[in-house]
């Protein structure tokens, strides 16, 4: 049993899970509170990566890149909400789908225009490029950082949602929109903040992963679907659900890629296992989603008040 | 005991801490009109919702023609012959009156997995639908869109659709709500004509209608049925007068 491999894969799973959480938390709140389906949420992921990369290139500082990048994505998110999303809340879901699909095309092309077709590498400061040893295990520093950052954001979000007035409004809005409006709360501002915050977190996820995978056009478009799966499995509107579902899915996805073929060889001949494993591991999280929908359609951790 | 088409025993439904219907017992004899009256919030619509299958009761039983239907879906009960009209008009707005009723005829005539024959060339279906529309006096407006007729006419459409299903029992939830005097009188006539051939459970606020139509009358207050009897006996019932008919009603 290769312990180093196992721990590395567990870490990778955790890392993927936390990145998914950053994406899914904003998404689930936007669905839950505004009933708005935003296919272009992955574009914020991409924009965050490019903003950060550009600033790192100009200033040489990764930290500055993150901070300024976050502000940048927050502003873009706010603009999108103000100019476009806001006009669609009362409209059909089909309208949401079409507009946000159009937004993806727009953002992808704008990035192409501004930064060119090839991706952008984001160099890490040396201190983050190394490895740390714990006992017999050797782990890449940067991935540890991502995990720590992810957990930190999750903690902050948790405090925000459960202990602040904004959080209370968000939770109330997720289960009963009209009531919050009736309370005289400035619903426009609430929606704006939620949307922009969600965008910023998506951007953060993009910034964190870009040094490893490179910033590229359309990088958010495939991972956003997995974020949707997380939202469904966790329960629409539930940040807690998004957290646990993201971790579960991140771990399942990562571990199955590494270990499913070995698991399958226990039950079938080696060459079948080799071809079946990649296909099956690709399908696994969707099978999980289907199972959740079949047996517990409100999600694993639905918000209170949802049947 | 007379032939009960519908038997409700011990029906309970609560939302949170409130009992919408509590231990409701009610029987409807075949071929009669059984009216249910009561103040707003008494649980009448919740009762109908449980009878039609829209809501699942917490406990109790519902027997239709001797068979328990408590676990059957809305669609199954409809196919069994229980037709419902809704308190808040629920028709297919963009379709014409005729198209709406033809859907009801389809519903009452077995499955609709026909993929080929156009419905608008089905003379038999059209005739059947037109006759249901004629019964409620809407035949001259058959080709108008449901969205483009008056509210009262939409209520009439609801009843026409229920009739077109050729049901064994009608559940009518305030069919005359929002109707003018003439339309209301027409509706009373229709229901009078149906009596004997059709079994009807009727929720209504219009007391003239109720008193002239009902063979049996149940009074609901706060989720309970406080009395079930003939119209005269109910009118004379002191408890009912106190709870419901009393203040402000002649």
């Amino acid at each position: 049993m290769d312990w180093n491999l196992l721990v590395t894969q567990l870490m990778n799973g955790l890392q993927l899970g936390l990145l998914l959480f950053l994406l899914a938390s904003g998404l689930t709140l936007i669905f839950g509170i505004m009933d708005f389906i935003n296919l272009s949420h992955g574009s914020f992921y991409m924009i965050g990566a490019y903003f950060c990369g550009t600033i790192v290139a100009k200033t040489g500082s990764f930290v500055t890149g993150i901070i300024v990048g976050l502000i940048g994505v927050f502003i873009i998110g706010a603009l999108v909400e103000w100019l476009i999303a806001r006009k669609l809340y009362r409209k059909d879901h089909l309208d949401h789908v079409l507009v946000t699909f159009g937004l993806i095309l727009i953002f992808d092309t704008l990035v192409h225009l501004l930064w060119g077709a090839s991706g952008m590498a984001i160099p890490l400061p040396d201190v983050l490029n190394g490895q740390l040893s714990f006992g017999g295990l050797v782990l890449p520093t940067y991935r540890l950082l991502i995990i720590v950052a992810g957990l930190l954001v999750a903690a902050i979000l948790f405090i925000l949602v459960t202990k602040t007035r904004l959080g209370m409004l968000v939770r109330a809005g997720a289960s009963n929109r009209t009531m919050v409006e009736a309370l005289g709360v400035n619903i426009d501002r609430l929606f704006l903040v939620v949307f922009a915050l969600g965008a910023a977190m998506a951007g953060l996820a993009g910034m964190l992963i870009a040094p490893i995978t490179e910033a590229s056009i359309g990088m958010g478009n495939d991972i956003i679907i997995v974020a949707f799966v997380v939202v469904i499995v966790g329960g629409i509107g539930s940040v807690k659900g998004a957290f646990y579902a993201a971790l579960i899915i991140g771990l399942i996805d990562t571990l199955s890629r590494s270990y499913l073929d070995q698991l399958l060889t226990l039950t079938m001949p080696g060459n079948y296992a080799e071809t079946a494993a990649p296909a099956l591991s690709a399908m696994l999280i969707y099978i999980l989603m289907a199972a959740v929908l079949a047996f517990r359609p409100q999600g694993l951790f639905p918000i209170a008040g949802v049947k | 005991m007379a032939d009960q088409l519908l038997e409700i025993t011990g029906l309970n439904k609560h939302f949170g801490g409130i009992f919408a219907t509590e231990n409701v017992n009610l029987s409807v004899e075949r071929g009669t009109i059984h009216a249910v009256i009561g103040p707003n919030g008494a649980g009448k619509t919740t009762l109908i919702a449980q009878l039609s299958g829209q809501l699942k009761p917490d406990s109790g039983n519902i027997e239709f023609d001797g068979r328990s239907i408590i676990n059957d879906s809305v669609a199954t009960r409809a196919r069994m012959g229980i037709a419902r009209s809704f308190q808040i008009t629920s028709v297919v707005m963009p379709m014409t009156l005729l198209e709406n009723v033809m859907l009801a005829v389809q519903g009452g005539s077995g499955h609709s997995f026909g993929f080929w024959s156009p419905v608008h060339r089905d003379r038999a279906m059209e005739t059947s639908a037109m006759s249901s529309l004629a019964e409620v006096g809407l035949e001259d407006r058959a080709r108008r869109t449901a969205a483009n007729v008056s509210h009262g006419e939409q209520r009439q459409l609801e009843v026409a659709m229920a009739l077109a299903m050729k049901p064994r029992m009608l559940l009518l939830d305030e069919p005359m709500a929002g109707m003018g005097k003439e339309e209301g009188a027409m509706m009373i006539d229709i229901l009078k004509r149906l009596r004997g051939d059709m079994t009807i459970l009727l929720i209504e606020h219009d007391m003239d209608a109720v008193f002239s139509l009902a063979d049996q009358l149940s009074v609901m207050v706060n989720g309970h049925v406080i009395a079930t009897d003939t119209v005269e006996n109910i009118r004379a019932n002191k408890e009912v007068q106190k709870a419901y008919l009393g203040d402000g009603h002649a």
Partner: protein, 321 residues
Amino acid sequence: MSWLPANLSGRSYALLLAILALAPFILEWANQPFYLDLLSRALILGIAAISLNLILGFGGMISLGHAAYIGIGAYCVGIPSYYDYYNGWLHLALALSVSAIFALITGAISLRTKGVYFIMITMAFSQMVFFTFLSMEEYGADDGLVIYSRSEFPEWLSMDSGVSLYYWVFAMLLLSLMFTHRLVHARFGRVIVGSRFNEQRMQALGFNTYRYRLTCYVISAMMCSVAGMLFGNFAGFISPDIMGWARSGELIFMVIIGGVATFFGPLVGTIVFVLLEEFLSAITVYWHLIFGVMLVALVLFGKGGIHGWLSSWDRKEADHG
């Protein structure tokens, strides 16, 4: 009963079909054979769009995963061909049955949900198909799969040449149009359309709406897989890219610009889309930007959004009686 948008008559559509029927000859005469390819591709996508319109336009089920069936149809040509099975009837039968089974399973799960859930789930399932094919190294995965020879049919039905394939496509298009028209006007179609507007009412009339919708979904998927089978033959090269959710989004776009819940709308929309794509991409490499802006503008400013179109269709169509 007229189901066409009020501003175009049946004669215009008959004319369109006539032009399409004679297209190979017209193009040959005008010395523009390249456009036959373009037209073939447009008509293939048109079949897919017509199938999507069945569930989306008429049925109100917004599926963002329909392109998966194009993919399934295409790989039902590609994979047997890889093993040297070129029989066209086999390809067709495979496409229809695999798509039917997949639609039955995923539809059974998806249709238990509504609204935002349904959209996301259809997207997720199509991504699942995408990744599954992407992971199959044997059939090319990311690099794609070459189909060396077209599906084999008896000589008089052959699709080997560009023109004969075009007529295959045209014939399938006619069948799709006719079938959809019949279906929507038949008992089944009435239940589907009624369920789109008032599901509660339909159930109260005795219809198990879930079963009707699932059947509709499966039919639509099978129709779309035929488009996929034709696409595989047309392109000669397929990859998982043809079935991503972005492709499904494009399909929705084609249905929308043509006119939802009309019979010829999806065809018109597809032709417009393909021509636009061709025209715009020749102008600039950033043509996606124009597309995106068009989409956004269309919804935000176009007569109360798509829903406004839907309702205006409803009134127009219903008043034709």
